[in-house]
Each structure stands twice: as structure tokens, then as C-alpha cells.
């Protein structure tokens, strides 16, 4: 056989054995639990996953973090395999995952959060701002405020809803418009965490973000009143007055509840169930609290009847709003 044919066969041989090695290796590996989660859950989930891996030595948790909507679409549109999905706004799951065909059958809220503004020493009027005068300072000329895109990201539309509620709460007509004037399109990104470096570099003075991020990044933040910061499920009715106009239509304010679900068709349902149980249980809740999230005791869930038996007892049905 001449050299060329030998070379060609050799190349094929290399390709084949390489792929076999890869697949073979996968068959010998421990179980991999794939989680898609919102970016703001990165830190707490890493801690929960560490605990989980200790408790289940033959399981490796591989988590990806990004915008909640992006993560959902990776499953629905890009058909990527995941066992669990955790989002920053519980509405994302029914909106994207309950379609035809359904990618999930239920969801459970496991943590709360609040919208706030973070800032640094370099920020304008940093020495002056407090929980009472914040909306006046943020409306001042020359203040640069960053936020995420309301059309694509939960914290984006939650920020605007909060401002809309603030207008009613303080009885200050035009508050929303004045503050948003300092947060033009050029200060917007698709997720709020992209703007943290801009804040630290002094490009923006204030960033609309979650309270948990403020604590995790050790940034100064403003304690906004519970009636406007979307943190309290008991205020759900009040929150509905906060309206944001997006390209997807008008959205009414809802409490910020982080929700998790098991993705239909996953091959690791048993392992996934255990992870959710850990998350909803006392250890998971402690991790969330330590990272600046609000607790959820007990967890609320929607479509409890569709949940695995082991999880049903950990949740209560979501109260009707």
C-alpha cells in the first residue's frame, strides 16, 4: 500500500480512537449533575454543590451561570441537556419552560432577594446618600446609573417596577422618569453583573442590582423600603402597581423569588431530586441566607402534584395572589 493510503488510514484511526477514548472516558466517569442557573446564584450554588458532592461522592456537579432567560433558552431553543434550572425570577419558568412541549412541570421558590442600588466611595454624593433621600440624589444631574436590559433580564424590569412603586410610595410624581434619565440606554447591559466592573472603574456611580450581589461583592448599598424593593411575598398585591413597559408588553411587579425546577427528560432525575431537597432544606437555606438572600421557609411551589414524592413534603402550595 502506498504511503498516502497508509497516512489516510492512520489519520482515520487516530480520529476514531480519540473519539472512543472520549466516549469511553465518559462512560467510566461518575454521575454528572448539570445545573443551569442565574448569574447571581453563582456563589451560593457553588457552596451548595460542594456540600452536595461531599454527601454524594460519586456525583460531580457542573453548573453554568448566566442570564435567567438565556439559561432557559439554552434548554428550550438550543436543546442543551440540563438536569436542573434555577432562575432569578420565578416567572421565567412558566413563561419559557411550560410551553409545547413542556420542559418542566413545576417550580419551587427557594430564596428571596431585594432590588437595591450599589455604589463605591468614588460615586458622586456617596457620602450624602441614604434610605430617605436616595431618589432625590439619583435624580441629580451628572449622576450615572447603570441597570440591565428590561427586555431581556429580570433585574432590568424589576428595577423599573421598583421605581414605579417608589413614585407612588413617596408620592413624588415624575420620580421614575427623573431617575431613569440618569440611566440611559448607553448605561444598560444585558445582565447587571456585567456592570460591576464599570462601577468599580468609576464609569457609573450607582448600579441597580440585587441585595445579594451587594453583599457578595462587598459593595455599599441602599436599604430600600420593603414596600418597593420587591423582597416580600406578602406585599405581592401592592407590588402589582409597579408597571414596566417592555418590548414584551407591560409587566406588573412581582416579588423577587428565585425558583428551581427539574428539567423534563433528564437522565439524572434521582440525583437532581436530592439536590433540590438539599437546596430547600435547612442547609441550603442557611447558605442562601449567608450570601445575602432572603429566606424562604417553607418553600412555596407551583404544581405541587407534579413534584416527586420526596420533595412534596418540603413545600407548600404557592399562595394565590
Amino acid at each position: 500500500m502506498n504511503l498516502a493510503i497508509r497516512l489516510a488510514l492512520g489519520t482515520c484511526g487516530i480520529l476514531v480512537s480519540a473519539s472512543m477514548a472520549v466516549f469511553g472516558a465518559q462512560a467510566a466517569e461518575p454521575t454528572v449533575l448539570t445545573i443551569f442557573a442565574a448569574g447571581t446564584l453563582a456563589v451560593p450554588f457553588k457552596e451548595v454543590s460542594a456540600i452536595f458532592e461531599k454527601q454524594n461522592p460519586n456525583v460531580t456537579v457542573q453548573a453554568q451561570f448566566g442570564g435567567s432567560v438565556m439559561m432557559a433558552k439554552k434548554i428550550t431553543d438550543l436543546h442543551q441537556d440540563a438536569d436542573l434550572l434555577a432562575v432569578a425570577d420565578y416567572n421565567v419558568i412558566p413563561k419559557y419552560m411550560f410551553g409545547h412541549p413542556p420542559h418542566a412541570a413545576w417550580y419551587a421558590g427557594f430564596a428571596r432577594n431585594a432590588i437595591t442600588f450599589v455604589y463605591t466611595d468614588k460615586s458622586k454624593y456617596a457620602g450624602e446618600i441614604n434610605a430617605q433621600n436616595w431618589y432625590k440624589i439619583l435624580a441629580r444631574k451628572g449622576v450615572e446609573i447603570g441597570r440591565s436590559n428590561p427586555d431581556t433580564d429580570p433585574s432590568g424590569y424589576q428595577t423599573v417596577q421598583m421605581l414605579s412603586l417608589a413614585e407612588k410610595f413617596y408620592g413624588d410624581a415624575g420620580l421614575e422618569q427623573r431617575v431613569l434619565a440618569n440611566a440611559p440606554l448607553t448605561n444598560m447591559r444585558d445582565t447587571e453583573t456585567s456592570l460591576i466592573s464599570a462601577l468599580q472603574l468609576g464609569q457609573i456611580d450607582y448600579l441597580a442590582i440585587y441585595r445579594s450581589d451587594a453583599l457578595q461583592h462587598h459593595l455599599k448599598f441602599i436599604d430600600l423600603p420593603g414596600k418597593i424593593n420587591l423582597s416580600d411575598p406578602a406585599q405581592a398585591a401592592y407590588y402589582q402597581q409597579g408597571i414596566v413597559h417592555t418590548k414584551n408588553g407591560d409587566l406588573a411587579g412581582k416579588p423577587i423569588v428565585y425558583a428551581v425546577t427539574m428539567v423534563n427528560g433528564s437522565t439524572n432525575a434521582g440525583v437532581a431530586e436530592k439536590y433540590v431537597a438539599l437546596l430547600l432544606g435547612p442547609q441550603g437555606q442557611a447558605v442562601m441566607k449567608n450570601n445575602g438572600f432572603g429566606e424562604f421557609n417553607p418553600a412555596f411551589a407551583v404544581h405541587v402534584e407534579a413534584m416527586p414524592a420526596g420533595l412534596k413534603k418540603l413545600v407548600e402550595p404557592w399562595p394565590a395572589s
Binding site: A4, I5, V69, M70, L185, N187, M188, D190, S194, Q203
Partner: protein, 277 residues
């Protein structure tokens, strides 16, 4: 080996190795297929109607136009500043030259987000260059075309510099010396002898810079989300709608880019023989 009678298709010269030839074809075809099939699949996923509807969206057209405009400026600046740099690297020696050459290549290895943050650090509102530029000339890089061009230029300038440098190195320095003895000063020599002989390589480099600038996302999006370049817009469409819309806008961008590159290639070819080998 038995002598085989020469077939009609077997017209190769006696020394042309069939084996080597076939191997080149085999491996080459695999690579080309790897590059082209995904793009064809993308293009075929769109019907004429869906493409037309995407083309009708004003913000998509604006995004593509912005990408082309920014990439053009980026390529122009790369040419203006990169070509002289390349000439210096090709013709002169100075202490630290290899360091400079390596630094020119560095942006290619920097993760795009990191590049964007580094640029923001320097060109932002409180940046060491950004602050004075904003104060003195009103030039802002945050959320502006200038910022987009800065990000594009950072990641794509090395292509122009490297290609131009190779082009200049291929020009026989003795031709330049002869031109000088014929009475042409250094500037005229550069313009009428060196540059024309290196033109093809330079054009290749500039085209690569242009292409790379169009596709840049990670560094651009740190500096500017609005106004939206095409890659940012495509990502936004994906988040808001879904794969179909994003794919449609992508195909539109690809079609426009392809047309542009063909035009650029035709322009850079010029008249035959007017180049060195």
C-alpha cells in the same frame, strides 16, 4: 510496480505524487467542510420570508450598518497606524524589538471580556486617557461609536500589522536602495516602490482586521451595549424571541459581510502582474 496505462484523468506529471495530492485533498476537504457546513446549515434554516421579515426590522438594519461602520473605522485606523509600525518592524532593529513584536500579537491571546475591561479602565469616565479626552475634546468611549471602534481595533489590529510586516519583509531592500540612488527621497521611495510592492499583503491584513472587527462581541459589549452592533443585536434577539430570529439576523449579517469581502478582494487584486511574487 506494474506500469499502468495512463488514463484520461491521470494526466499528472511523472513526479507528481498522487498519494501526497490525495492526502491534501482529503484533509483539506474535511477542514473546509467543517468551516462551511455549519454556515450553510444556518443559511438553509431560514426561508426567504423569514429573512425578508428580519431585513424589514429597522433595528437589525441599523445594527448591521453600525457594525460595518465601526469595522471600517477600525480597519482604517489599523491601516494608518499599523502600516508604519509594520515597516519599522520590518526594516529596523532596535533593542527590545522582539518584545514589541510579541506585544503586537498579545491582544489575540487576551480573553475578549478582559480586553473590554482593560480598555474601559483606560478610556472610561475616570480613565487615565478617558477623563482628559472627555474634558478637553468631549470624546466619550462609553456607549459610543468611539468605544465600539476602540474595542474592535484592540482585538483586530494585530492582523494588519503582521500581514503588512510580512509584506514589507518580502520587498527586496535593494530595490529601495536603488530608488534612493535614482534620486527618490525616502518618502517617495516608500510611496512609489515599497508600498505598491507590499500592497497585496497589506490589503489581506486590513481585510482580516475588518472581518474580525465585525464579529467582535465580548470586548465591544463591555464598552457599548447601546448603540447595538450586529453581534449584540443578534444576542438580544435570541434572548427576546428565540433561535429563529437570531439565526435570521445572523444570516443577513453573513450575506452582507460576504458581499463586502468579495468586493474588497476584487478591488485589492488590481491589474495582474502589478505585484511582486
Amino acid at each position: 510496480m506494474l506500469q499502468r496505462p495512463a488514463k484520461r484523468w491521470d494526466r499528472r506529471a511523472p513526479s507528481q505524487s498522487r498519494g501526497l495530492y490525495l492526502l491534501c485533498w482529503f484533509l483539506g476537504t474535511i477542514l473546509v467542510a467543517f468551516l462551511v457546513v455549519p454556515l450553510i446549515a444556518l443559511a438553509l434554516s431560514q426561508s426567504g420570508q423569514s429573512l425578508a421579515s428580519v431585513a424589514r426590522m429597522g433595528d437589525v438594519r441599523d445594527a448591521i450598518a453600525l457594525s460595518l461602520e465601526g469595522a471600517f473605522l477600525s480597519a482604517a485606523i489599523a491601516a494608518l497606524m499599523g502600516v508604519p509600525l509594520a515597516y519599522g518592524l520590518a526594516r529596523t532593529t532596535f533593542p527590545g524589538k522582539s518584545v514589541v513584536a510579541a506585544l503586537v500579537d498579545l491582544p489575540l491571546a487576551v480573553p475578549h471580556t478582559v480586553a473590554g475591561i482593560a480598555l474601559l479602565m483606560v478610556l472610561g469616565r475616570q480613565g487615565v486617557l478617558g477623563a482628559p479626552l472627555q474634558a478637553l475634546v468631549g470624546l466619550k468611549f462609553w456607549g459610543t461609536l468611539a468605544g465600539i471602534v476602540a474595542a474592535m481595533l484592540f482585538v483586530s489590529a494585530p492582523y494588519t500589522v503582521n500581514a503588512a510586516r510580512m509584506g514589507f519583509e518580502a520587498v527586496d531592500p535593494r530595490l529601495e536602495k536603488i530608488a534612493r540612488t535614482l534620486g527618490l527621497g525616502p518618502w517617495r521611495t516608500f510611496a512609489r516602490i515599497t508600498l505598491p510592492l507590499a500592497r497585496r499583503s497589506i490589503m489581506t491584513g486590513v481585510t482580516l482586521t475588518y472581518a474580525r472587527s465585525i464579529s467582535e462581541f465580548g470586548a465591544v459589549v463591555i464598552l457599548a451595549y447601546y448603540p447595538m452592533t450586529a453581534p449584540v443585536k443578534i444576542y438580544e434577539l435570541f434572548l427576546r424571541f428565540g433561535l429563529d430570529q437570531a439565526a435570521g439576523a445572523s444570516v443577513l449579517l453573513l450575506a452582507v459581510s460576504l458581499a463586502l469581502f468579495l468586493i474588497l478582494r476584487t478591488l485589492s487584486r488590481g491589474t495582474p502582474r502589478r505585484e511582486n511574487r
